[in-house]
């Protein structure tokens, strides 16, 4: 029998191991993929996955239920991933010099992607190229791009999470999109 999320949370808070397992099973894919996208490698994503659910199970009795369970877990996972990034904290400023002088015409790239972007996503070659391109992004660009364009957070939320100004978020987002587009166009054409 299906039980409601509220009931699932109540049981998990009371230490019901089956309910806790259901929560992990439901959200493990979301957390793993977030880690993968933010950190760009499988080992780090696994670390985020384990740390997130250890934290979730530990903090569950204090979960106030002011947000949905998925949002709460998502936040914990994002924070775990960002903590890992802060520890690493690599700056790749040399990368940025090559971005602004772009003056190419991308009409061919746009045309080659076709009129059916969802259909394009069935193309394994394109998916591989997309994965390579996002992995190669400098971390501050990748984090901003993932949080804004893939996960849909607001500029303000991202600025707070990353502890940077909103103009810095905008700038990183702009650069991330251009670098990704350029890399994909370069690999695709």
């Amino acid at each position: 029998m299906e039980i409601s999320e509220k009931e699932l949370i109540r049981r998990a808070k009371n230490g019901d191991r089956l309910a806790q397992s259901e929560i992990v099973k439901t959200y493990e894919k979301m957390v793993y993929n977030l880690g993968l996208k933010l950190l760009g490698n499988e080992d780090a994503a696994e670390g985020v996955l384990q740390e997130t659910f250890l934290k979730v199970l530990q903090a569950l009795p204090n979960f106030q239920e002011k947000s949905q369970l998925s949002t709460w877990i998502y936040r914990i996972a994002t924070n775990q991933a960002l903590m890992r990034l802060r520890v690493k904290k690599r700056r790749q400023q040399t990368f940025e010099r090559n971005i602004e002088d772009e003056d190419k015409d991308y009409s061919n790239f746009v045309r080659s992607l076709g009129k059916d972007p969802l259909g394009d996503l069935l193309n394994e070659e394109l998916k591989q190229k997309m994965d390579i391109a996002i992995k190669k992004l400098p971390e501050n660009y990748r984090t901003t791009f993932v949080l804004k364009d893939i996960e849909g957070l607001s500029l303000k939320e991202i600025a707070e999470m990353l502890d940077v100004s909103i103009p810095a978020v905008k700038s990183n987002l702009h650069r991330a999109r251009i670098v990704l587009r350029n890399k994909l166009a370069e690999m695709w054409n």
Binding site: L18, E46, Q50, D105, K127, I134, F145, K170, I178, R181
Partner: protein, 79 residues
């Protein structure tokens, strides 16, 4: 790019700039895009790239990663 796509893209650009879509800045951008195929292609290519990433299917958790997770948590994976 269709008119609907253009409007959506313009809205996104204006959102990034924290401007209202009817602001003079957004109107200027709209005017420019109408007459500049190169900028249109630039905006369209970025929009498509964002779309592709947003709709990229999620990867499954590899089996070995999954097994280690349940072990670390000391929980049994439900059927």
């Amino acid at each position: 790019m269709s008119k609907k796509d253009c409007l959506k893209t313009l809205q996104q650009i204006c959102d990034e700039l924290s401007e209202d879509i009817n602001s003079s800045l957004c109107q200027e951008i709209q005017e420019h895009l109408k007459n500049c195929p190169k900028c249109c292609a630039h905006v369209d290519s970025i929009r498509k790239v964002v779309y592709l990433y947003k709709h990229r299917e999620k990867s499954d958790v590899p089996q070995c990663v999954d097994e280690r997770l349940w072990k670390v948590l000391n929980l049994q994976k439900p059927e």
